[in-house]
């Protein structure tokens, strides 16, 4: 298959872009345009990769490999399966939107937009790398490298408590990464035992996985597991996420929750189920319990948040519960649903983050209580807030319904009790979304963010009075352009998800074969 150049190009284009933008950082306008140009170029490359990929072809495609550290058998090896491909496509889709959304970002003093966008592009390279690596050591390097731009993006460009949040994010991730490093090296050592010569090549490791004793599998998997559980994050390892998401600039929040966290769930599939099938099955009950707790606990906490960005973070924790449930319920519907969920969550939570950001850009506060009745002032923003919310609560007709439905319907045959408990999350999701919408958008115009503090009945700041003139404007053309592609995908993938499912499903069934699990429900003879 030609197209071997595509992944290296996808990997390095944003890095080059990052350098160029960093050089242009003294000219805001030029830097912005360059960043947008590079990110759109990346999107075009991703489209080519999507076209070049044959869903029913080899397990890994668009592969390329260069020796990197031959002494240890480390290769700079790239390749994708359908699961990695859709995640790379998601990254390439989200980054231009994030850049567009950050166009007029208010940054802390002394920071330039060029510097900000440059780091975003560098992070894009590492995010692509994490999904494209087919060498376990290379994966580890990207996994850790991702931390660095993320740390600076939060710590230098974030909100008031950014230093604390960045440190917390860094500590959690680093801890997970170190434990994973132990397992990465452990895998190498065991492969040397089995093959005579150590390797980091994922495909080879997947082949020898069944030769490992369950105990060895268990301990090796545990290292990966902790790192992924922190990244995903599973309750109770989640508390870094609300802090990071709350303090991060909105665009970084989108990438953090929309993409970075998915490395955890992606890792469960690629490095958990495929490399350590027995250990995955052994740990499945634990994950299922944590997943369902996450769904319910995250939902209640989302409902109880007073800070809008923390609210989005907790909705994500609930959603990650669904993703983990689907993966560890071991059916092709549930796992395909989880992978699709990873994509859809990036889109819908990305949009939720952005609209919350647009609300905050107008009111200047992160607190729900400072807002009320805003839809009267900004009907379009109100409507799009609702669209994002409805996608978040997985309303049929939106993208998220398809994935949530697949997760639940696929999990049910194996795990009926967990599935029914998780279904309660559907009601809770409606509760937290509609509560947020009601608080910010419905009712009479109120709240200090929208109405001047000195306002009273009859005064110019009383929204009921004739002289009231709101300084709050509805969405600008730029903001509409930023949100339009998200809305299009929310509805488009809700009505016709087949193109994405067709890419995901063969890789999911291959993963299941590697894990040695079979579908609980198989097509009947003679069925259409």
């Amino acid at each position: 298959m030609s197209g071997a150049f595509l992944l290296p190009a996808l990997l390095f284009l944003p890095l080059v872009g990052g350098v160029v933008v960093a050089l242009l950082r003294n000219n805001d306008k030029l830097a912005k345009l360059a960043a947008l140009g590079f990110s759109l170029g990346e999107l075009v490359l991703a489209v080519f990769a999507w076209i070049a990929f044959d869903a029913n072809g080899a397990r890994l495609q668009l592969t390329s490999s260069v020796e990197w550290i031959p002494q240890f058998g480390v290769n700079f090896a790239l390749g994708v399966d359908g699961i990695a491909l859709v995640m790379i496509a998601l990254i390439a889709f989200l980054v231009p939107i994030v850049i567009g959304a950050s166009w007029e970002e208010k940054l802390p003093e002394g920071r330039t937009l060029g510097g900000f966008l440059s780091l975003i592009l560098v992070m894009e390279t590492f995010m692509v790398g994490v999904f494209a690596a087919t060498d376990v050591f290379l994966f580890y390097v990207f996994f850790e490298a991702m931390l660095i731009p993320a740390y600076f993006l939060i710590g230098r460009f974030g909100g008031p408590r950014r230093t604390y949040a960045a440190m917390k994010f860094f500590l959690y991730s680093l801890l997970g990464g170190l434990i994973m490093l132990a397992s990465v090296i452990g895998v190498y050592v065991t492969s040397a035992d089995v093959l005579g010569k150590g390797t980091f090549e994922w495909a080879k490791l997947a082949e020898i996985s069944k030769d490992l004793s369950p105990t060895a599998q268990f301990w090796l998997f545990l290292g990966f597991f902790v790192a992924f559980a922190i990244k995903a994050p599973l309750v109770p390892l989640h508390t870094w996420l609300p802090d990071s998401a709350a303090e991060a600039p909105v665009g970084v929040g989108v990438l953090l929750v929309g993409v970075l966290d998915k490395v955890g769930t992606f890792g469960f599939l690629r490095y958990g189920l495929s490399l350590f099938p027995e250990a995955s099955k052994q740990l499945a009950p634990l994950v299922l319990v944590l997943a369902v707790i996450g769904i319910l606990y995250g939902a209640f906490l989302a409902f109880g948040q007073s800070d809008m960005k923390r609210f989005v973070a907790f909705t994500s924790i609930a959603h990650f519960g669904f993703i983990a449930l689907g993966i560890f319920a071991f059916s092709s519907q549930s796992i395909s649903g989880s992978v699709l969920y990873m994509v859809n969550h990036g889109i819908s939570t990305g949009m939720l983050f952005l609209v919350v950001g647009m609300v905050m850009a107008r009111g200047g506060s992160r607190q729900f209580a400072d807002y009320g009745g805003m839809a009267k002032l900004t009907p379009v923003l109100g409507g799009l807030f609702l669209v994002a919310g409805l996608s978040s609560l997985a309303l049929p007709g939106t993208n998220s319904f398809v994935s949530e439905f697949l997760v639940l319907v696929g999990s049910f045959p194996n795990e009926p009790v967990f599935t029914i408990l998780a279904s309660v999350g559907m009601v809770l999701a409606a509760l937290y979304v509609l509560r947020a919408y009601q608080q910010i958008m419905q009712g009479p115009v109120r709240g200090t963010a929208l109405v001047g503090l000195a306002g009273g009945p009859g005064s110019a700041t009383d929204p009921e009075s004739d002289t009231f003139k709101s300084k709050i404007a509805d969405l600008s053309r730029r903001e509409l352009i930023v949100l339009a592609p998200l809305v299009a995908l929310i509805i488009g993938l809700g009505v016709y998800p087949k193109p994405v499912l067709d890419v995901i499903t063969p890789s999911v069934t291959a993963t299941m074969t590697e894990a040695g699990v079979t579908d609980p429900v198989v097509a009947q003879e003679g069925d259409k």
Binding site: K168, L171, L395, P396, V521, A523
Partner: protein, 652 residues
């Protein structure tokens, strides 16, 4: 059994039926243009919105007549549009099922929908967001058509939650009112509780049959074990209870009256809230297999019809009385479909006649309120018959139809249900028949009370002012509002006779629902039932007149204190308080507890651990200058862990 009457094979799709997707596409296109187009479409939005629904009705009529030209065995057909959610064994098809049942609903939805769109042109003429209103109404019609036309339980679910969204948007249409926003949220949440039931039913079907398509599920329902069939039946019932306002999920429907009146008429009376009845009737091959499941359905129906009647007697809000009346009438329908082959078609018949007269009653209520400065309190009305003659006559016909006045619509459809209920064996006949006939008497009571307080007696509004400080000046509504009311009044009068005459409707529906069976002998003779019903209804009306209608009676404008049963009914028989205590309060408590646990407990312990384990790096970062250096150092520190882990692996 009845299933032999169901069409086993699907008929060929040809001619006009190929374009059935237009039914769904037209209103959805209207919604998309109006909602995306925004203010630019303000001038003509209401016209486009009405035109799409009228066009869909026109197509529906043509489709109906083309189906009439087919043999009954050929009348069940499916149009496959595209593969929606395909993953291995799960193949959810996006297709339309065209059969007598769905075509009947198409006519109801687009027919009543068209009238209500036209009515809304006048009713909403003063609202600056009229265009948005029509956008939402179109969205509703599109979703409702998906609900009834979908050919699988998942497409049904799509329409099911779609109408829930439309209902949410329309209840909170005046969203600057906190009460409207609250009511909309409550409706959506209680519906979602029911939706869990529908979802679990779908999971059960997939787990046990590997499919969610109607044809396959119905064909192979017999393979399911009794327990699974019962579970599916009960879960579907839970879904039906949410959407149709049946016990224990009925409390949202009266609150939903916060929405504009056309919405109450179309969504919360004539169409959406009957979706639960549709669901059970549609799933008749499943319910046929489980007598226990059907028994639960009848119990829920009987209980709800009584709850609705009792509370309806006590309310003073015009629309809320009608809302509880809707709850109660849907109770009759649910009771009917719970009777299985004896009642599926009767439930649908009552659903259709109810669609006419209840929509008419709501539009009449809207017309009254429109002329009364949006006043909803019937204690502040009275003597309006002369002020609004057209409203009075059309409303009066709807009223007579609802209480089952002989030879009007409700007389045929409700009596048939009461007869079928008495046709059950043993205690069931007495209990269900008794509940139904007692409900009829209560219905006559509360509807007569409503009639008397609004249209007759003293003009209590003369010396009062409305909430906005204006004096009341009741007047008849414009033509765009009265014409739909007149058309619906014709339906209230004649629909029952036309549909029941010679078993017209039940025969037409037989390919979808099986042949309607009639009990040989019930607990009381057939001939007695209509007499009994009419006599008890007359008694109910008489009692209402004695209390509220006589010349000597003065109805106080303020609600008087009352004895316990009335107070209980005014408080919704404490169902809201119960929900509050059982669900709302515990949830809030749980949320608060979790917030404390998460902030103090989980974060403290886990972050603390992480800091201790990763502590080296944190300390180094503070004391040394470079970030990268500390990172490198901590990686070094990590190698200690690596060695430990390798030892574990080696010697494990």
């Amino acid at each position: 059994m009845t299933s032999t009457y169901l069409a086993a094979e699907l008929g060929p799709v040809d001619g006009i039926a190929q374009y059935a997707w237009l039914l769904v596409a037209l209103p959805l296109l209207g919604a998309a243009i109006l909602l995306i187009g925004g203010r630019r479409t303000d001038r003509w939005g209401h016209l486009l919105g009405s035109a799409t629904v009228i066009a869909a009705f026109g197509y529906g009529l043509a489709l109906f007549f083309s189906v009439l030209g087919l043999d009954p065995e050929q009348r069940t057909r499916e149009v496959s549009l595209f593969s929606w959610i395909p993953v291995e064994a799960l193949k959810v098809d996006f297709g339309l099922r065209l059969d007598p049942l769905s075509v009947t609903f198409v006519l109801l939805i687009t027919g009543v929908g068209s009238l209500i769109h036209i009515y809304s042109i006048g009713y909403m003429s003063h609202d600056e967001n009229r265009r948005k209103f029509f956008g939402h109404l179109n969205l509703f019609v599109g979703a409702m058509l998906i609900l009834v036309l979908g050919n699988s339980f998942v497409t049904l679910y799509l329409g099911w939650e779609g109408v829930g969204l439309a209902s949410y948007l329309l209840i909170s249409f005046w969203q600057h009112k906190p009460s409207a926003a609250e009511a909309a949220k409550k409706a959506f949440l209680m519906n979602r509780v029911g939706d869990i039931g529908l979802a679990v039913a779908i999971f059960l079907m997939f787990a046990n049959l590997g499919t969610t398509q109607y044809t396959e599920v119905f064909e192979r329902a017999g393979e399911l074990s009794g327990g699974v069939v019962l579970a599916i039946a009960l879960m579907l019932l839970l879904g039906a209870c949410g959407k149709s306002g049946q016990f224990p999920l009925q409390a949202w429907l009266p609150d939903a009256m916060e929405g504009p009146t056309p919405v109450s008429a179309l969504i919360h009376a004539a169409t959406m809230v009957t979706a639960g009845v549709y669901l059970i009737a549609r799933s008749n091959p499943i319910y046929d297999l489980t007598p226990d499941g059907r028994l639960v359905v009848t119990i829920i129906g009987a209980l709800t019809l009584l709850i609705g009647c009792v509370i309806g007697c006590a309310y003073d809000d015009f629309k809320k009385v009608l809302a509880y009346s809707t709850v109660s009438q849907i109770g009759y329908m649910v009771l009917a479909v719970g009777l299985g082959p004896f009642g599926y078609a009767l439930g649908i018949m009552h659903l259709l006649t109810h669609g006419f007269f209840k929509a008419g009653l709501f539009l009449g209520a809207g017309s009254v309120m429109h002329g009364m400065n949006d006043e909803g309190d019937i204690r502040r009305m009275g003597g309006l018959a002369r002020k609004m003659p057209i409203t009075f006559v059309t409303w009066g016909l709807g009223y007579l139809a609802l209480i089952g006045f002989p030879f009007l619509s409700g007389y045929y459809s409700k009596d048939a249900i009461i007869e079928a209920a008495f046709g059950q064996e043993g205690w069931r006949g007495w209990v269900f028949g008794g509940a139904a006939v007692f409900g009829a008497a209560l219905t006559a009571f509360y509807m007569t009370r409503l009639m008397l307080l609004v249209f007759f007696g003293e003009k209590r509004w003369e010396n009062l002012k409305s909430a906005d400080g204006r004096a009341y000046d009741p007047h008849e509504s414009p033509k765009s509002m009265t014409v739909p009311m007149i058309i619906l009044a014709f339906g209230s009068v004649f629909a029952g006779f036309l549909l029941s005459n010679g078993g017209l409707l039940s025969g037409w529906l037989a390919p979808s629902l099986g042949k309607l069976q009639v009990a040989e002998h019930g607990v009381i003779p057939h001939a007695v039932v209509p007499l009994l019903t009419v006599a008890l209804s007359a008694l109910g009306a008489l009692v209402a007149w004695l209390i509220f209608g006589r010349k000597s009676v003065r109805v106080p404008v303020e609600r008087p204190a009352a004895s316990w049963p009335v107070r209980a009914a005014r408080a919704d028989l404490y169902t809201n308080a119960l929900n509050d205590w059982l669900v709302v309060k515990p949830s809030l408590l749980l949320t608060r507890a979790f917030l404390v646990v998460d902030n103090k407990g989980v974060d403290g312990i886990v972050t603390g651990t992480a800091t201790v384990l990763g502590g080296g790096s944190s300390v180094l970062r503070r004391t040394q200058t470079g970030f990268v250096r500390s990172y490198a150092l901590s990686m070094l520190g990590g190698s200690v862990l690596v060695i430990a882990a390798m030892l574990v692996v080696r010697f494990a």
